[in-house]
């Protein structure tokens, strides 16, 4: 019997980039994104890459990005969910009614009660997860193709949302609830720096922890300088992002109103900045949780195994039907969280909320490298995909491209992105 020590791992000469062991596909996407941003900034004469616009871009991306995280798992397991926009609308309707009518009036909490927002969110997530689980049951146990189930779901939930509210716009929403919308709920400069610092330390710690665990089994690890370079890149990316958001000053008039609302008088010459929006922090939290789920939990392993070979997963004792229910339930819960962000951003529940989001969400996941053939996809890719789509759309709007042309460009970009991906995978022999 031979053990590991008798199989030396042959040292290989590698290039600088290879030694960093970066995902070249991700690098390509980041590169495309940077070129896009610089391009728009150039055309708009510096209006695109301002703290204000970057702030707006991030809060506009959150809702689609949150759902895209769930869509990754759906597509990885060779399914699709066409109902996410409609499900968002139903969840939004349920939550709007819960916070403006059911809790304050019927349950007698009264408007503005601090428990309204948390209860509303729990109710919304429960509703989303339940509806998602039902879709998953139809797909997994009754073996109706997900395309059909969720196409039906699109029609059903869009109109259940309408039916619940009789087509009316509901608002204004609860104050605390609206903090999840973006501009109405930000951490301010100091707290943002702290969050940035914590995230940086956590990211670097996770990286070095992985290295230690590899080294403890005697596996090859990256050279220390490569790890240090990566750590430096991560730290500057996170802190740079926080710095940009912390550079967006709250307009004086708005500040004065905020002080007045608290019954105080604004000191003369007082300025402060928005900092990290709570909705973005929420997205970051979801992204981390979903990445851990995908890579480090059994459930995540089973999702990818099922996507790679459903029969093999079944033969390995994985209950792929129940897995389907869980994945769709997760998608439904994420739709509800997106509904919180989307309705809070608008300060109202509107009937057409989330319209066409299913297409944006699927496009984000696919541009982000999720393969429709199953088994492949990353959470960070999908979020970057959402960001690229949103930048493209906002940038074109800023340049003054008409809406129909915007859609044509987005459509072309989606197809081109997939084509580039296919060519890339063929070249690298990646699958």
């Amino acid at each position: 019997m031979t053990d590991t020590t008798s199989q030396p791992i042959p040292p290989q000469r590698k290039s600088f980039v290879q030694q960093l062991e970066l995902d070249t596909r991700l690098l390509g996407m980041v590169g495309a994104f940077i070129i896009l941003c610089i391009g728009f900034d150039f055309i708009t004469e510096g209006r695109f890459l301002t703290p204000r616009n970057i702030f707006n871009l991030t809060i506009q991306t959150v809702s689609v990005a949150i759902m895209a995280c769930g869509m990754v798992f759906i597509i990885v397991t060779r399914h699709i969910d066409l109902s996410v926009g409609a499900l968002l609308a139903t969840c939004s309707a349920i939550m709007a009614m819960t916070q403006t009518d059911i809790l304050p009036n019927m349950m007698g909490l009264g408007l503005g009660h601090p428990l309204i927002a948390p209860i509303t969110i729990v109710v919304g997530i429960a509703a989303g997860a339940l509806i998602g689980a039902f879709h998953g049951y139809l797909v997994g146990y009754l073996t109706i193709p997900a395309f059909i189930v969720t196409l039906g779901g699109l029609l059903v939930w869009r109109n259940v949302g309408w039916f619940l509210t009789r087509g009316q716009t509901i608002g204004p929403l609860d104050e605390t609830f609206m903090a999840f919308g973006g501009i109405n709920g930000t951490l301010g400069p100091s707290l943002s720096w702290i969050v940035g610092g914590v995230l940086t330390v956590a990211a670097i710690a996770a990286m070095w922890n992985g290295r230690r665990s590899k080294a403890s089994h005697g596996f090859p690890v990256k050279p220390v300088w490569a790890e240090l370079t990566l750590s430096a890149i991560i730290a500057s990316a996170i802190m740079g992002f926080i710095w940009v958001l912390n550079s967006y000053e709250i307009p004086t008039a708005r500040l004065r109103r905020m002080f007045e609302a608290r019954g105080e008088v604004m000191p003369e010459g007082f300025t402060t900045t928005y900092g990290l929006p709570i909705s973005v922090l929420l997205l970051i939290g979801i992204a981390i949780a979903m990445t851990v789920l995908a890579r480090r939990t059994r459930l995540g392993r089973y999702i990818f195994a099922t996507g790679g070979n459903p029969d093999a997963a079944e033969l390995s004792g994985i209950n792929t039907r129940m897995l389907t229910v869980k994945i769709f339930a997760l998608m439904g819960a994420l739709c509800a969280i997106s509904a919180v962000v989307a309705s809070a951003r608008l300060a109202n529940h509107t009937n057409d909320i989330g319209t066409l989001d299913e297409l944006r969400v699927i496009a984000a996941a696919v541009i982000g490298g999720t393969a429709l053939s199953g088994g492949l996809g990353t959470i960070h890719g999908a979020i970057l995909g959402a960001l690229i789509m949103q930048s493209l759309q906002s940038g074109m709007a800023m340049v003054g491209v008409d809406a129909p042309y915007q859609n044509i460009v987005v459509g072309v970009v989606l197809v081109a992105a997939v084509l580039i991906d296919i060519i890339y995978r063929k070249r690298t022999g990646d699958h």
Binding site: T2, H217, F219, V292, R296, F304, A305, A312, L376, H431
Partner: protein, 250 residues
């Protein structure tokens, strides 16, 4: 006489009118290798899939150590220490060797997270036994050769202390050296008291490795013989003509 390790009694299953397995009875003793032979489509894989939990039989009973058991799914089979190397290998192509080896039985850290490093270390150990040339531990198994993939499937079946091992054409894609290693592995597992069903088209290999051989034709059992009481030609006759050698002699 003690009860056999496995007895599959009067097993039947059909797929839309085709009787894939038609009232077949086979058994297996501890430390015994029973070869399953038959032409393509004879029903060999289907028979053993009823033991591994992949298919539910239409009729018949399964006994393990004399006790009647119901195997409804692959989890039940694993719970009875039945491990299977499928003809199709049943690997998730997008995952690496270690993830496939431990699929459904991942090693976890104290926090309940999958411990990839520990699984890779275990995989390196067992692959060192089965296929020392194997080095592609960090590639998805889709990037492996047919034989390398087969090694991963074999490693998965032997790693978890099987009592009953089902091998469906385990050496179909292997080179001569690797085939020899599997033959040695079978001898070693047999010596440890494991019972093995071996499906193989190579009559010579079956004569060398097996104690008994059961031959199937068109879903039915032609017969079961002790290999040291028959010749290669007898077995071939059973496979091709469906004739039992002793009927022949009579």
């Amino acid at each position: 006489m003690t009860a056999p390790l496995v007895e599959m009694r009067d097993m039947s299953i059909s797929f839309g009118g085709i009787k894939a397995v038609d009232h077949v009875t086979v058994d297996l003793q501890p430390g015994e290798v029973v070869g399953l032979l038959g032409h393509n489509g004879a029903g060999k894989s289907t028979l053993i899939k009823m033991l591994s939990g992949a298919y539910q039989p239409d009729g018949g009973q399964i006994f393990i150590n004399g006790e009647k058991v119901t195997i409804n799914n692959p989890r039940d089979a694993r719970a009875h220490n039945i491990e299977t190397i499928y003809q199709t290998l049943a690997l998730a192509d997008n995952l690496d060797a270690a993830s496939n080896l431990f699929l459904g039985r991942e090693l976890v850290t104290p926090f309940g997270l999958v411990d990839d490093a520990a699984m890779e270390a275990e995989t390196r150990k067992i692959m060192g036994r089965l296929n020392p040339n194997f080095q592609k531990f960090n590639a998805p198994v889709s990037a492996l050769s047919g034989g390398q993939r087969q090694s991963v499937a074999i490693a998965r079946a032997v790693y978890f202390n099987a009592r009953i091992l089902i091998m469906d054409e385990p050496t179909a894609a292997l080179g001569p050296h690797e085939t020899q290693m599997v033959a040695e592995l079978i001898q070693q597992l047999k010596a440890e008291g494991i019972g093995i069903f071996l499906i193989d088209h190579d009559v010579h290999q079956v004569m060398n490795l097996c104690d008994r051989a059961s031959v199937m034709k068109n879903g039915q059992l032609v017969g079961t013989v002790n290999v040291n009481e028959v010749t290669d030609d007898d077995l071939l006759g059973m496979i091709i003509l469906g004739k039992h050698p002793h009927e022949n002699a009579a």
